[in-house]
């Protein structure tokens, strides 16, 4: 089977980007990605744009302003959206466009501009990604959904408040070595435990921040990829799955079933097992989300995620390094950009270009991107 390769990646500085608009952020990331593979925008056959929220973007169809600003015309552009998994949905769509044969080189850009809104506005906009009809009337928020999962996990498996904090401590430490990360400061377990309560039991430091940023990836057919670069990174395993919109209808609140389905599909396609993964980017929108990810991806048994981080197994020098770029937690979570930014890190790792945070000898990388607290899930596997 002919494969699809990533030939170039690019990313902006993540953070409060009061110096740039939505479209300008997208441009920065695309320029970086095109320079990475020595192509121009004229070489690109199509654009897939991942941008999550019209409300956050203060626009209807915000991808259209982005497409024009990138100079893609007269080539076509598409918008893909799957809540916080928007970026990975865009990558999967680009893969399918190339595999179908209608395009050879596809540019994916993921972008979000979030900090023009005050916190309570953003909390409301993000909260409405959940079931607006049936759950929003109770004043539920996104930290609220994950707090419900955290408490259920703690009750069922004895996961501790300190273990949740260890995820934040690890990812903040990793972000120190990532120049584009939103936060680059070491924190302690105590910092997490004593920070402002957001949604009990989750505090401020259990939550990913509200961040602006963009990331871009150039994908190409196998034939083109080999001509463009000596080190194409192959997207060799794809898995995607859904769960119910209302969390009330899901089988369990202690994990995300769609991750089990999506990851097993991706492992099968890539012909690997969880133990073969050298470096993983997982969707740590909240600390509990990373612990649940370990379990659902098969890095450890169900209920043992807290122990895995406590034992240092997911540290950069551990058995399975997770979120060595700081993750959503410290690098930041500009929603549409996140899934694409995960690919940027994995590609840098597999090419040996992750200066200061390189996992030595990494050959197989995984991205895990979760939308709407588990409704939309994409797991992708990349190989050198």
């Amino acid at each position: 089977m002919s494969e699809v390769g990533v030939v170039g990646v690019g990313i902006t500085k993540f953070g409060v980007r009061s110096d740039a608009s939505l479209r300008e952020l997208a441009f920065e990331a695309v320029k970086d990605a095109l320079e990475h593979c020595n192509l121009t925008i004229k070489d690109v056959d199509a654009l897939v744009c991942g941008v999550w929220s019209d409300e956050a973007s203060k626009a209807a169809s915000p991808s259209l302003q982005i497409a024009d600003y990138l100079g893609i015309l007269p080539k076509p552009s598409y918008r893909v959206e799957a809540a916080c998994a928007t970026g990975s949905a865009a990558i999967r769509s680009a893969w399918a466009l190339i595999k179908s044969g209608i395009h050879d080189i596809v540019l994916v850009v993921g972008v979000e501009k979030m900090t023009e809104h005050i916190t309570s506005e953003m909390v409301e906009i993000i909260g409405k990604t959940g079931d607006v009809f049936w759950e929003y009337p109770f004043g539920i928020t996104f930290p609220g959904y994950y707090a419900l999962m955290a408490r259920a996990h703690m009750k069922e498996f004895g996961t501790t408040r300190e273990q949740l904090a260890m995820v934040a401590v690890k990812n903040h430490r990793n972000a120190i070595n990532n120049p584009i990360a939103h936060f680059r400061k070491e924190i302690s377990i105590d910092t997490v435990l004593t920070s402002k309560m957001i949604s009990d039991p989750l505090t401020l430091y259990d939550c990913s921040p509200i961040t602006d940023g963009a990331a871009a990836v150039v994908l190409a057919s196998a034939e083109k990829a080999k001509k463009i670069t000596d080190v194409p990174i192959w997207l060799c395993g794809l898995g995607a799955a859904s769960d119910h919109h209302s969390i009330l209808n899901r089988r369990r609140l202690t994990g995300i079933d769609a991750v089990i389905y999506a990851s097993r599909e991706a492992y099968r396609m890539a012909k690997i097992e969880p133990k073969d993964v050298d470096v993983a980017e997982v969707h740590d929108c909240f600390t509990i989300a990373e612990i649940i990810a370990y379990e659902d991806l098969g890095f450890c048994e169900e209920g043992r995620g807290g122990k895995l981080v406590e034992d240092g197994e997911t540290e950069i020098n551990g058995r399975i390094p997770v979120n060595v770029d700081g993750g959503l937690k410290a690098k930041g979570h500009p929603i549409g950009a996140t899934g694409v930014a995960q690919v940027v890190e994995i590609v840098k790792q597999l090419r040996g270009e992750a200066q200061g945070r390189q996992v030595s000898g990494a050959k197989i990388g995984l991205t895990h991107n979760v939308g709407a607290t588990g409704q939309s899930v994409y797991v992708h596997i990349y190989r050198r």
Binding site: T119, S120, F138, K155, M197, D200
Partner: protein
């Protein structure tokens, strides 16, 4: 009036849900064809794709399986909540009913008394803002 008394939308095929709440009943729907049960209620069966559903009343007794206390609220709730004219952290819980179905509701009592596993009753209530909602009250 209809479902807008419960949620932020006006139009729905299950708008009787709010009316039933006002009568003190928490209602679910059941597909007459394949007997699938839906809570929150649905007008259409996602399994057999028929739209012949009937209302039935849920046994309101359940057990708390998880909860949270929200300290940072969405804009709509951030100066006051439906429970209070000033903003105070508010608790939300999920109960599992005897039937195995789960429901969400406000926990409008002292947060230190909330415990996973406690027996609770789904209690429809009218709020000061005129809406109807569901509280989870100790049995």
């Amino acid at each position: 009036m209809g479902i807008e008394e419960f949620t932020i939308y006006k139009d729905s095929k299950v708008d009787k849900f709010a009316e039933y709440l006002k009568d003190g009943k928490v209602m679910a729907t059941r597909c007459k064809n394949c007997k699938n049960v839906f809570y929150p209620p649905r007008a259409d069966c996602s399994s057999c794709y028929t739209s012949d559903v009937e209302w039935f009343e849920l046994d309101r007794k359940g057990k708390l399986i998880t909860f949270t206390v929200i300290h940072v609220a969405p804009k709509r709730y951030s100066t006051s909540t439906p429970l209070s004219s000033e903003f105070k952290p508010y608790a939300i819980g999920v109960v599992e009913l005897k039937s195995g179905h789960r429901a969400m509701g406000w926990l409008a009592f002292e947060p230190s008394k909330i415990e996973v596993g406690m027996a609770l009753l789904l209690s429809p209530k009218k709020l000061p803002d005129g809406k109807v909602t569901i509280f989870l009250e100790p049995v």
